[in-house]
Symmetry: C2
DNA sequence: GTTGCCAGTTTGTCATGGACAAAATCAGAT
DNA sequence: ATCTGATTTTGTCCATGACAAACTGGCAAC
């Protein structure tokens, strides 16, 4: 029963818990003098828990647009209370909150897992999938994102929300039996993008419109996306980027993928992560759910014959 | 429409696509002369696609127990055909394959996503959740794991399998309404463990036995597991480790978590990843699904009064 | 007041080469 | 054949230097 006292974390553990790379941790130490880990007998860094805690707070604020140089000077209490620095990037055409969101957030705060799930399920039954996605899940996800960014929500509370919602959406999509028509749409996310909710929301809407979706889950390596598109003969490849995904990397990824993918395969990129992105050539950006359903309709309008290869975008 | 020709990958892209850390990529180059990337104008490594392909093959073989020094000398063709080097670690008490597995694998190979899903769904309806999990999903997951390890399966095929199965299990669990009794079990995985199937299988079985499961999804940072256990007043914390998870790191993680978690909270670790693990003190290892249900029964036998704090394990 | 441009600063990522401990292997003894 | 200790292999860590992309802030033009 002798607890090995948790004296501290090594650099790999801190990388895991904070999401800050080892390179960043070392270079911050060099430049700013923080973090200032102890050293073990072997000269390796040992981070005390308080410093890890502070790093987590800083990481959260950086995702909100703050920069490390400024954060370094602030005391911990100031960090807790700092507002987002980046404009909220309000999604155009987003459905307004009908008032239910606050109730859901409250359930999460009280850690009432079963209550949350039950209420959500009840709402799905009442609204039907289409309205459930656009009017309940989408505003709720946005609200959770905001809460999360302002530090009001613990990691595990966000996890619980995701798990419960994910479950319900998958359940609903799974029970959609109907006929599937072209296009066949491969849905997945980039290797560094673990968020699945956006993917599920768009799949629900596309499936409702009869599209033939092939969901690959998240985090598919680029070469495998290309292979999967070929194997499934997908006409469209859809990627989802969450709000947290660095815009610069999204652009690079899309360009690389566009270069590797056959020209006949359309490439769509959706999610709040593409809101402030200049569209790379040959990539269709879908910042909102509405844009996704519109893109589907548009594709069908321009591709009447099922198997025809695309010629020119605007051919009459 | 000028495709920027995909001349090669930078080191970060290779890390993503192969799972080999930058440190490893550099040290291999230094020691073995492979990989041997070109350099761009800035002196940074540019890996040609063939080398990335070879690295992926090597990575797969290393997960099978081969060592890089040996693999370096082999030509690519030899790599493709190399057998596993590690004993298969047959799970004791595993349900035998009733013959359906081959059919499912064949559907995956033909990339028949909808057929796969439909067949699975049909089977769930016929078997009921309990038998579906133990007799269909578990053998199938094991078979997929083996196929994967032998390189018979592409990443995206495995992704499709996971997504379809996950969907079905979540759907089934979600529709389990019944009463929930103690213990409350927090279910999640370590930060580096993205596999969710084992978690869902065990949740299905525990929920069938009326346990009050709180599913947090995968990849929860350790500090958040501790917080979540407190917030949800969980009596048990359950972690799942897949076959691919390095045993050494699992042991370290469990010890760290055990030290941080209140002594009154039980810690269970399941999945094929704990098969060859010496159980750290105060951690219950559950290498099979049967062991998990047994552990639940055992907990209840020893904790008759709902809220009683555990005293001594063997108190009559 | 807003927009566009430019110089300066900040910041993340990459490179090199050295070091060491844990794991795996091998050799020799029981 | 099994165990134990020596030896090799291998991943991770360290320090430091460098640079390009992103961001900032000021100034000019609309």
């Amino acid at each position: 029963m002798t607890n090995t006292l948790p004296a501290g974390f090594n650099i790999a553990a801190v990388e895991r818990d904070t999401g800050l790379s080892k390179d960043v941790l070392r270079v911050w130490e060099r430049r700013y003098g923080f973090p200032a880990p102890a050293r073990d007998a072997n000269g390796e860094r040992v981070y005390p828990p308080e410093q890890v805690e502070r790093l987590r707070a800083m990481r959260r604020l950086m995702d909100l647009g703050h920069r490390p140089g400024k954060l370094m000077r602030l005391p911990l209490e100031a960090l807790q209370a700092l507002p987002p620095r980046r404009r909220a990037a309000a999604a155009p055409g987003a459905a307004p909150d009908d008032g239910s969101v606050a109730g859901f957030v409250e359930l999460l705060r009280r850690h009432d897992a079963r209550g949350f799930q039950a209420t959500l399920q009840h709402r799905l039954g009442r609204q039907g999938l289409q309205r459930f996605v656009t009017q309940t899940i989408a505003p709720l996800a946005r609200a959770i994102g905001t809460e999360w960014e302002s530090g009001q929500l613990a990691v595990f509370e966000e996890h619980l929300f995701t798990e419960a919602t994910e479950r319900l959406l998958r359940q609903a999509i799974g029970s959609l039996a109907g006929v599937r028509e072209p296009p066949r749409i491969l849905l997945t996310s980039a290797p560094d993008e673990p968020h699945v909710l956006g993917l599920l929301m768009v799949e629900a809407l596309l499936a409702l419109d009869g599209a033939d979706c092939v969901p690959l889950g998240t985090r598919t390596p680029l070469p495998d996306i290309v292979r999967a598109a070929a194997a499934h003969r997908a006409e469209v490849v859809g990627l989802s980027f969450s709000r947290a995904f660095p815009a610069r990397r999204a652009a690079a990824l899309l360009e690389e993928l566009r270069a590797t993918l056959p020209a006949a395969t359309a490439l769509w990129a959706g999610g709040e992560g593409v809101l402030r992105l200049t569209p790379p050539a040959g990539v269709l950006l879908l910042p909102t759910l509405e844009a996704a359903t519109a893109a589907l309709a548009d594709w069908r309008a321009h591709q009447p014959a099922a198997q025809r290869a695309p010629l020119t975008e605007d051919l009459p």
